[in-house]
Amino acid sequence: MIPACRLADLPRGEAHRLDIDPPVSVFHTDDGELYAIDDTCTHQDASLADGWLEGCEVECPLHASKFDLRTGAVDSPPAKLPVRTHEVVVEDGMIYVRLSTQAPNLPPCVAARLAGGPA
């Protein structure tokens, strides 16, 4: 498990990004739920932690793709592929993330860069 941040330091309506590769973000919804998903939008290189959190949905800050925090599913295009979801554990006031073992759905530009192709 990877430590993210203290629960007290993540107010409702906010997100915390873990700078791992690929980055993961923990969202604290207005209803008090915690969810972790891949931080990079599957459409293009944008940080979902910078996005618009509403209910259990986050809207990409750039092109308005929407993802369901509970399932990672695309609720609204242009994204077509889901983001991975990760398990969130809170122990002694600390938020931890247990990473998914699935392959991430990175956007074409980022995937090409990681593969050493044109950015």
Binding site: S47, A49, W52, P61, A64, K80, P108, C109
Partner: protein
Amino acid sequence: MRTVAVVGASLAGLSAARSLRKRGYDGRLVVIGDELHRPYDRPPLSKEFLAGAIGEADLALERDDEDLRAEWVLGTRATGLDRTERAIRLADGRDIRADGVVIATGAAARRLPGTEGLAGVHVLRTLDDARALRDDLARGGRLVVIGGGFIGAEVAATGYGLGLDVTVIEAAPTPLAGPLGETMGGIVSALHADHGVRLLCGVAVKGLSGDERSEMGVPPDGVWGRVDAVLLEDGRSIPADTVVVGVGARPCVDWLEGSGVALDNGVKCGSDGRTSLAGVVAVGDCASWYDPRTGAHRRVEHWTGAMERPDAAVATLLAHGATQPGVPRPPYFWSDQYGVKIQFVGHAAGADSVTVEEGATDDRSFLAVYRRAGEPVAVLGMNQPRLFTRWRKQLTADPRRFPRSAA
């Protein structure tokens, strides 16, 4: 309602088709498109696609597992709407009878008169346009972009990234003054100079010069020769290997003349897309919706509008107009130029002030708020997606409760 025809197969048309199914419409659904392609995403055409970073498969808007149970009539344009027969006339002679119609025919790029048939001269609107331009940019050399608007600026930035020698020509004293105002238009268009791209403002284009081999008669492909320079009104001649004309778009509504659908710079609509004809709504770039926030009709040529607004129009269509029109979200658009993310929401036209609230314009990382009589009416961000999203959310939720600082 037994048949709904969606005329237009780009983002607005696809969004309307999706909303119809999502809202439980189970009847026949016909989607008509003048291009042969299934719906694809246009914003990357001037950026990642043009740069070669993504391919055509990446542009598809539909998911692999998506099935809207629609009949796709592609490669044929609509030529008329017959209100008495309730039919869409197609260019290939067919009629599609429909009791509900969604007009989503978009807009077409304006061209420079007299430039047809000159090789190396492009507009950029469709996938086919982008393919042709990408092939020409691969030749390298000198790119001249006519028009310093967003499409022109993005093409210039992409051309610069591909190593071309780029010049941008803008007829107005300041590019982007319409959407962003003079001050911010000047700041955003300074990105060209930051990268050594020439920007010539306040000068009109007189014409193009090319290698016109007219003595050889009309060649078999109808192409007269290749452009070699852009001629300016002040007498200058700007050498060019490739020219892109980015001087705006006109709504594709000619086919509706005489149909009874009221037109005024596009299809004149209420704030939910309803037109002057019952059972007909209009969405996307061709539709001029009434905006209660400004008290005026406005055609919004933004991706987000084509994405979000069709749902309201479809709700109105399915309820036979018996719905209360809501207030559309303020217009939002983005642009990517030279690696800088530019975002804008709201209406700059009515603003009497604009102030930088965060960051610094010289750093190309800032957030600026436009106000009218002290009330925020628009926000511009450069490389500030997180802060911009907060302000956008506030402006959308309730303009009167817009905070002094959203930080």
